[in-house]
Symmetry: C2
Subunit: 309 residues, 2 copies
DNA sequence: AGGGACTTTCTCATATTTCGAATGATGATA
DNA sequence: TATCATCATTCGAAATATGAGAAAGTCCCT
């Protein structure tokens, strides 16, 4: 039984005329008759007492009409609300972001975003844990790189190179690594989840399995540790661009740039119909991180490595 | 959009499992997936965030679920009520009957009928006017004979011959007609709606166009007039059987019985699904008027015409 | 008495739905 | 850590349902 059939039935009841109701629905008289007949067959009830020229509700028809009217009104309300959900971003946008990026690059723009969409509330969780977007009910996440074999959708927000960096004090003490093989003599800092560093060498990708001297559970931890001169770490430009610019950190081993990186992405559940609030926020972030992002300084020349060597 | 699809959607939402919901509805996984997809396409909304192994409601899905739940409950109530209407005769049974038959042969049995179906109330209008059953909202009518070319349904309740009769006093005064051609010398009584009498003669049907000496607008009027010896009239056995039995009236011209009569019928609106209250009442009346009806005495020998001649 | 409008039935063409098998992905289990 | 079972989706083919058009029967109105 289709909603449309019920709606048609209510119209027939109101008009008392099958053909007229059929015309309203763009139906031929035969189709109209057939719809009504099949409705009666499905319910095994006579809905109308029929003359060859008109129809009068039976008691059963009246019963159905009463209930169908309420049910259809309910569904109309649903459609209206769905349209509202779909037309204008509203409700709550639940975002997951890693700790630093959320605090430093998302939060500062939220005020402006909310000016565009006052009806849309933001719930942002900043954690370096890899969250289950679908299972935990997030609308989207902002990630340094999309999960390689995930069925999630991903959209690139902007470039975000990663660099191997250290504090000037550390370089002064331990010297500068020239190639990945030198790393064995250095203190490496990172997070548990990233035990392998990939470099682009002149002869292709170089895989370095890292034995961390120190590791924590967040990007902020490795950031702090690096800044304190505890060793080398791989950081996103978006995280350390100010430190590189100011010379508090320096990038090293620039002949071997970090491979397999380069983008900051929005990740969201798959499906043909992305909710407009997600689309709106992604569009907004793209406008902020658009080419080039404001953090995309040339870190290699900001503090020439040669000066430190 | 089908009600069944909405119901399916609510089940999927409850189970969080498309295949399981599909099994409940006897659907293959592919059909289940297709249903959900087409629902989303129709609404242009993502209803579930999908993992390859499970589904989680989106905000839009939650909106739909809330409303669909109410709407479906409403429709379930409708179905339940329709089933009740259909299963047990209840509500009001609106009957039209001619004046005498209703009073004399329907009313006396209503008490017994109501013992069978206490929930069913009876509204009976006794009138000799030919009512528009459908237009005036009757469930059924009891008629001496079904309309010849009507689309109404008719069911025979019992036999009810009609006879040409008069009072003994009238016969004594005017003599007894022997054949239809004698009628021209007699006073004929009837109602406006029946200007023609049909007789079965030995050589086939004889049509007699009646010039009423007296006519009224009801069967009761012609009954009274006949009883008062004002003339001849055609009456149903069910109307005058007691008078014939007691000799207050006598049937005349028995060699030419009234043609085109013989049945008392229930008439009701056409349709594949007759309401149970109508069926119940018709069945009940058939049991009362069943072969032979209690009024079906042999009127020809109750008061032999020869005695009067 | 006649014309127009209505409902219904029939047949046939078209959409839609469904299943079965194959694919890709995930969680549980050993 | 690897295997297995389960899940959702896609594709093609068959089954089903839906729709229009023509024709018939009925009834109202002029």
């Amino acid at each position: 039984m289709r909603l449309e059939d019920l709606r048609f039935f209510t119209r027939v009841a109101a008009l008392g005329n099958l053909s007229a109701a059929g015309r309203e629905f763009g139906l031929s008289p035969s189709a109209a008759s057939s719809r009504l007949t099949s409705l009666e067959r499905e319910l095994a009830v006579q809905l109308f007492a029929r003359t060859t020229r008109s129809l009068v509700l039976t008691e059963a028809g009246q019963v159905l009409l009463d209930h169908a009217g309420i049910a259809l009104a309910q569904m109309d309300a649903a459609f209206e609300q769905l349209e509202a959900v779909n037309a204008a971003p509203s409700g709550v946008l639940r975002i997951s972001s890693n700790m630093f990026f959320g605090r430093k690059h998302v939060l500062p723009h939220l005020g402006e975003f909310r000016e565009f969409y006052p009806d849309l509330r933001i719930a942002i969780d900043c954690t370096d844990r890899i969250v289950d977007i679908i299972g935990e009910g997030y609308d989207m996440a902002i990630r340094g790189a999309p999960m390689p074999d995930s069925s999630l959708m991903a959209r690139r927000l902007g470039s975000d190179q990663r660099v191997l960096c250290a504090s000037p004090a550390y370089i002064e003490r331990k010297g500068q690594p020239r190639s990945p093989s030198d790393l064995i003599n250095h203190d490496c800092i990172g997070v548990e989840a990233m035990p392998i560093w990939y470099f682009d060498g002149p002869d292709g990708e170089i895989v370095h399995r890292v034995a961390y001297s120190i590791h924590g559970d967040s990007g902020d931890f490795s950031y702090d540790a690096t800044l304190h001169g505890l060793g080398l770490s791989v950081k996103s430009i978006s995280h350390v661009w100010e430190e590189l610019r100011d010379g508090r950190l320096v990038s090293v081993m620039n002949d071997y740039p970090i491979a397999r990186t380069g983008d900051i992405c929005a990740v969201y559940p798959p499906g043909k119909y992305t909710s407009p609030k997600v689309s709106a926020f992604i569009d907004f972030l793209q406008s902020k991180y658009g080419r080039p992002p404001y953090w995309d300084t040339d870190y290699r020349i900001s503090v020439p490595v040669s000066d430190l060597d």
